[in-house]
């Protein structure tokens, strides 16, 4: 009846909420870690000394020199190409997991398209790496 409530995993259909609730301990653990260690910061604020403040104390640390300009500066784009490559190939490598986790239930012929996919991926990867290696264009 309510098809949207069920997600097919293999041959068994499970409740979507049930699948999602298996992740709830992860969130609980995240919350517990924050709640258990957060008081340390508050306690530290309570018992730590607060000596007289001088403007030097709150300056950014620059090895004893008075900092010039802002801390949030422009930065080199020299390695930006790797960030761009990550956006594409991270998703691709996760796609391979959909195939890898179900491979025992697939016919052997189903591997051939994946090999072709890997070939396409390798070609694109090699070209992207070649472009990323050309330091003079970045």
């Amino acid at each position: 009846m309510h098809r949207f409530l069920y997600s097919p995993i293999g041959l068994l259909a499970t409740l979507v909420g049930e699948a999602a609730s298996s992740f709830s301990p992860v969130l609980l653990m995240f919350g517990f870690a924050v709640v258990a260690t957060g008081p340390a910061l508050i306690l530290s604020r309570m018992i730590a000394p607060k000596r007289t403040s001088s403007p030097v104390k709150f300056l950014p640390m620059e090895s004893g020199q008075v900092p010039k300009e802002e801390g949030r500066t422009h930065f080199m784009m020299q390695y930006y190409s790797y960030v761009l490559m990550f956006v594409v190939f991270d998703v691709m490598s996760i796609f391979l997991y959909a195939w890898g986790s179900s491979i025992l239930g697939l016919p052997k012929a189903a591997t051939l398209p994946i090999i072709a996919f890997l070939g396409v991926m390798f070609a694109a990867f090699a070209y992207a790496l070649y472009q990323a290696g050309r330091k003079n264009i970045w």
Binding site: L27, L28, F32, M61, Y82, V83, L96, K108
Partner: protein, 433 residues
């Protein structure tokens, strides 16, 4: 000499007492009782000894020690206990704290130093406690132009994310905090948060050193995330599952490091990079950029980041153990409990604890935990070792290692796994079951 205040009148004092009692009863009945009932409505009460454990029954049992044991045994199987103590935060934090101390002594021994020596009589064993007290009593200084909210939540987010990562690692059969069907993907999703936290806090601190360190952390974790993901694909192909408990279960007879040694090596190198450890500690290179993205953290904020780092170290070492070294599987070395302990309780000299069914954990779980801890500590020591012997590498060498070499190596073991599967060595109906 103290005297009763001149305005004091006993009748007013008694009246104020009654006033307080009136308000307490009123608030309790209007707010407290509904809250108790709402909580009781949503909590699933356990059934022990064929009786539904209502709070009333629980208190009755508390008065009788011989009946307390079933309650405790039930309690240690709740999610609350899992998160709080055993496979979760308490256990991991204990191992993390031990790792910090062991690392200092271990590195000192490698480099022919003595390490912490004075705090505590024996080999400076109280050094960690001293460090904790020092950190908590130091002033937290936040730079004037920093983005304060993000700067404050950065360490908390780091510890929380490390805790979420720890929750996915199975320690013994059935002893895992979170056991989703796609546990391995959940691990990837969790470790994907770390570079975001690094870059956010680095940007928030408004310092050039933190900014450079944060960018380095971003590039490094990005460069090593793809080989990390690809190196585990061979395990998934050989087991056909993404659930970490099932992957550990599948290594009863042989470890996956036997069939996927290249994956194991690639994964280990990626662990070193994700943990920002030498030779990949560019984000906090102390001889180049002060302390990298941790430069502006002072006092307990730095302490929390440190705790998070070592929780992450434990989690990665546990993940390596579960995926490649057989997890909790190992020969049964834990002695079986004598029958009279189970039926009658322990009798040691004058002190007797005659409580039936005393061992709270079963033999299988204790043995599994023992093997898991032994293997994990071994992996942790292997992760600590390069810090004593290796120099730091340059950023372009790091990117070259990650993008060119490790990704290629990771693919080799995928094809080896495919070959083993299709040659009929592994998998259903294979030579090795």
């Amino acid at each position: 000499m103290s005297t009763i205040a001149p305005q004091f009148r006993l009748s007013r004092f008694v009246a104020s007492l009654f006033d307080i009692i009136f308000w307490v009863i009123l608030i309790f009945s209007l707010v407290g009782l509904p809250i108790v009932f709402i909580i009781l409505f949503y909590i699933k009460l356990p059934v022990i000894n064929n009786q539904l454990m209502t709070p009333y029954l629980a208190m009755t049992w508390m008065a009788d020690p011989s009946e307390t044991l079933p309650i405790i045994k039930n309690l240690i199987h709740t999610t609350f206990f899992h998160v709080l103590a055993f496979p979760g935060f308490g256990f991991a934090a204990l191992l993390a704290a031990a790792t910090i101390f062991v690392e200092r002594k271990f590195l000192a021994k490698i480099q022919l130093r003595v390490g912490p020596l004075y705090c505590g009589k024996v080999e400076g064993i109280l050094q960690l406690m001293g460090d904790g007290l020092k950190l908590i009593s130091k002033e937290i200084i936040i730079p004037a132009k920093a983005d304060k909210p993000i700067f404050w939540v950065g360490p908390l987010l780091f510890v929380g994310t490390a805790g979420a990562f720890v929750s996915l690692i199975p320690v013994a059969r059935g002893w895992v905090v979170a056991n989703p069907a796609v546990g391995l993907l959940a691990v990837f999703a969790t470790i994907g948060f770390f570079p975001i936290i690094s870059v956010l806090t680095a940007w928030a601190a408004n310092n050039k050193w933190t900014f450079i360190g944060g960018l380095r952390a971003l590039h490094q974790m990005i460069a090593f995330e793809i080989p990390l993901i690809l190196s585990l694909l061979s395990i998934v192909i050989m087991t056909g599952t993404l659930n970490l408990s099932q992957i550990a279960e599948s290594q009863q007879h042989y470890w996956w490091i036997v069939f996927a040694p290249i994956s194991a090596i690639v994964f280990f190198i990626c662990i070193l990079a994700e943990l920002e450890r030498i030779p990949f500690d560019l984000p906090e290179a102390e001889s180049e950029i002060v302390a990298g993205w941790l430069t502006e953290f002072s006092g307990m904020m730095y302490g929390l980041i440190q705790l998070g780092t070592y929780l992450k170290l434990y989690a990665f070492a546990g993940l390596f153990t579960v995926l490649f070294l057989g997890g909790w599987n190992g020969p049964m070395v834990w002695p079986p409990f004598p029958a009279d302990i189970v039926t009658q309780g322990i009798t040691i000299g004058p002190i007797t604890a005659k409580i039936a069914g005393l061992p709270l954990f079963d033999q299988d779980m204790l043995n599994g935990t023992l093997w898991f801890v032994i293997k994990t500590v071994g992996v942790i020591l292997l992760i600590l070792l390069p810090r004593g012997v290796f120099p730091r590498i340059r950023i372009d060498m790091l990117l070259h290692t990650g993008w060119y070499k490790l990704i290629g190596l990771a693919f080799i073991n995928i094809f080896i796994a495919l070959g083993l599967l299709y040659a009929g060595v592994l998998g259903p109906g294979g030579l090795i079951q």
